[in-house]
Amino acid sequence: MGKVNIEIDGKKLVADVGSMIIEVADDADIYIPRFCYHKKLSVAANCRMCMVDVSNLPKAVPACATPVADGMVIQTQTPKAVDAQKSVMEFLLINHPLDCPVCDQGGECELQDLSVGYGEDVSRYVEGKRVVKDKDLGPLISTDMTRCIHCTRCVRFGQEIVGIREMGATGRGEHVEIGTYIESTMDSEVSANIIDLCPVGALTAKPSRYKARAWELRESPSIAAHDCLGSNVNVHHRRGEIIRVVPRENEAINEVWLSDRDRFSYQALTDGKRLLQPKIKKNGQWESCDWQTALNFAMTEMKRIIGASNGDNFGAIIGNNSTTEESYLAQKILRGLGCNNIDFRTRRRDFSADDKGNVRSGLNFPLQDLEHMDATLLVAGDLRHEQPLATLRVRKSTGFGKAMAINPFDGEYNFRLSHEIQPEPHLLANEFACVLSAVAAKKDDAISAEIKEWLSGVEHNKVHSEMADELIAGEQTCILLGVYAQEHPQAETINWLGEQVAKLTDSKWGYMTQGCNAAGNKLAGAVPNQSEVGGRATLGKNAKQMLNEGLKGYLIHNCEPDVESLWSEQALENFNNAECVIALTSYDDGRMLDYANVMLPIAGNFETSGTFINIEGIWQSFAAAVAAPGDVRPAWKILRVLGNLFELNGFDYESSIQIRDELREKYEVSGDKKVSRKMPEVLCSSEKFEAPRESLGLYRVDPMVRRAEALQKTPKASTHPISISRVKT
């Protein structure tokens, strides 16, 4: 790309040919006022606020829509530029209501800020102002459309980023309105980003409406906990109460966006029924007690059951969203007591690779690369509902590349698929094997005799062959296995196929995981087959065995296996029949009240410090944004005390950072142990299984999301209804 020399406000700059003045100015930290321009959206040039003075041009020009040219001299502060900006501001304010004192955006409003700089004190207009009826966009976004200045950022977001255009500008001239025209709620899983995009108070967050003023809020960086990307967020809180969660820019992970799930889940903490004190069930009645009593009770029971059965009859189920530190301590306690029954994979059927060494969970390439793929093959991935922001990247790649899918369900995509295969669920691996067979036919010399033998009898058709062509022809290609693939009875076969197809077609490959910290939990050793950083451990019982076999005692940490696991019914029955269920939970509701014997209140996400390791293997540590309410304690502290009560060694941590550093040191010594997958035994279809669509659903993934009120009111939540209420009363 060629370069040109330009000058903005006397600063000599070098810019890429074709870039717009405003981009160059932004990079050089020269501020140009704007409303409609946004770096992630196309240029609309309809607010005209960014007028600048370019030498040799008779009139001021919009900086967002004027490409730079060699020798251009640009002034942003000359009378010509400022006059133009002031005039635009006057026009914008003709119809904008003067309701800043009651507007949620007040204090963080781009229009308010700029009107201080460019607006007049007194309006010259005495005519009545335009009034626009508010639109009902659902439970997440509240609207005051009279405030809208028609920048169309929300419209462009839908059209360009999400690919589902729900908002539009209807009417003409004075009568233009931004909205959906017919009453309809926003249906996308990233809809609330338009709240951030809106430069005025037309679109604001409904759950946090009228709760606080922008200047009262304190901001703490944190990590979102509901998908494996680990989106970066800022938690805004006031006097210890979380008011809202907004995205924190991280180009490599979430860009500037945030999924609705990550944005509004905090409601479970602020409005959910929280467990504020430890409780012990006595004669069927819950009684509050102090920590000492509760922890002693838990310790005695654990000792009794583990001691009586050589560790065989006790098991720990760790939630998907537990921090790495929590998982590490939990397994350290259990293994210290001689029990290896610990697992977080409550939605996995295939454990056949458990005895074959450690393979890191996740992607083997940077997430960011998803948007540069010439061809992407999705296998059993419901990206939109599982990793909403990853789908935005795949969508970007479909601007020039191809996306293909082998999904055993009616996937909802916001991009066009060039090829789609919809096998029956039990034939997923077979269908994927056909692609390998097609690849093998084209790359005959690169394929080993063993694989040829394995593939004998697998016939590929034209679609498989075309998929293979796309993967081979593209310069950058990838195979992405979805969460559903890991739930499949032949998950390891599918993983192996992914690896093989990737190798032969020179593609990248990786798989998505349930929850936000699967990689961290695995690395911390919360799996029955290995201790921390892939260390050797006696093979314990996995989640499937623990939930189905009926143990005498369970420790449930930050999860509800009776709701979210694949064996929810069996889990419920076995929990009810167990002698003791120790529940570490943030909430005082649900069926847990029936089956648990002791409940220990743990701090929720944003209330505890910790580390999540995302799908790419990035360690993201965070501090607590707010203190937990009541007697609630961060889980790592509870587990530390529990470890000490058991008189185990090495539980003298003073902060979660020490725990992380200990694990990190071990990890740096051991490194990323990557054992290549072994070829699965003969390919046969797994047994036909009943429910073809077993994904948990967008707003059902974890206890926190299930209790976030606003999310539960969205249409997306009702498409996958689930009851968390108690069966017995």
Binding site: Q159, I164, R165, E166, M167, G168, A169, T170, G171, R172, G173, T180, Y181, I182, D410, G411, E412, Y413, N414, L417, E420
Partner: protein
């Protein structure tokens, strides 16, 4: 929306006759194949003609699906152009321009006179279903401002007398043939 097997053209085919579908197909051919939005306008025009001079939301959605564009893209076009009617219209739509030139030349008086004569407000239809007064944007006849259009005929340099004449001419068409009209509806 994403079901690739679902035939999105079905809905519109149910709503309008095949001849109209053929007409829309002719229009689609006039634009580059990869551009989906240009045929929105002619398609809406065809549909409106087949539906007694107005469009329903269902029809706009059907057009959107037929052309494979988002619903809201069609609403945008239909609400932008005053030639598209979104409510049931009278037999004769008096489209009064109130844009700049006409406004300077007294279009507000034209509107007022029409409202008084017909005893309805802008955008309303007389009880007998004969007249609708509609405010429209510039119809490119500024030289003869103020103007109105009715039944595809421009009437320029309007005065109260001229307006009265237009109204009585139309009323005269309807007086003797009232029964026929009812049948025609």
């Amino acid at each position: 929306m994403t079901d690739l097997n679902y035939d999105k053209s079905l809905h519109l085919k149910e709503l309008i006759p095949q001849s109209a579908i053929d007409e829309i197909e002719q229009w689609i051919l006039k634009y580059p194949a990869e551009r989906k939005r240009p045929p929105i306008m002619p398609a809406l025009k065809v549909v409106q003609e087949h539906n007694g001079n107005y469009l329903t939301t269902e029809m706009m959605q059907a057009v959107a699906e037929y052309l494979d564009v988002p619903h809201v893209a069609v609403y945008e076009v239909a609400t932008f152009y005053t030639m598209f009617n979104l409510n049931e219209m009278g037999k004769h739509v008096l489209s009064v321009c109130t844009n700049l030139s006409c406004s300077l030349r007294g279009s507000d008086k034209v509107v007022e006179h029409l409202q008084n004569r017909l005893n309805i407000k802008l955008g309303e239809t007389t009880k007998d279903g004969v007249f609708t007064i509609k405010e429209v944007e510039c119809m490119a006849a500024c030289g003869g401002a103020p103007m109105l259009e009715v039944d595809k005929v421009y009437h320029e340099n309007l005065t109260e007398e001229k307006i009265d004449k237009i109204l009585s001419d139309i009323a005269a068409q309807h007086m003797p043939a009232k029964e026929e009209d009812n049948n025609g509806k």
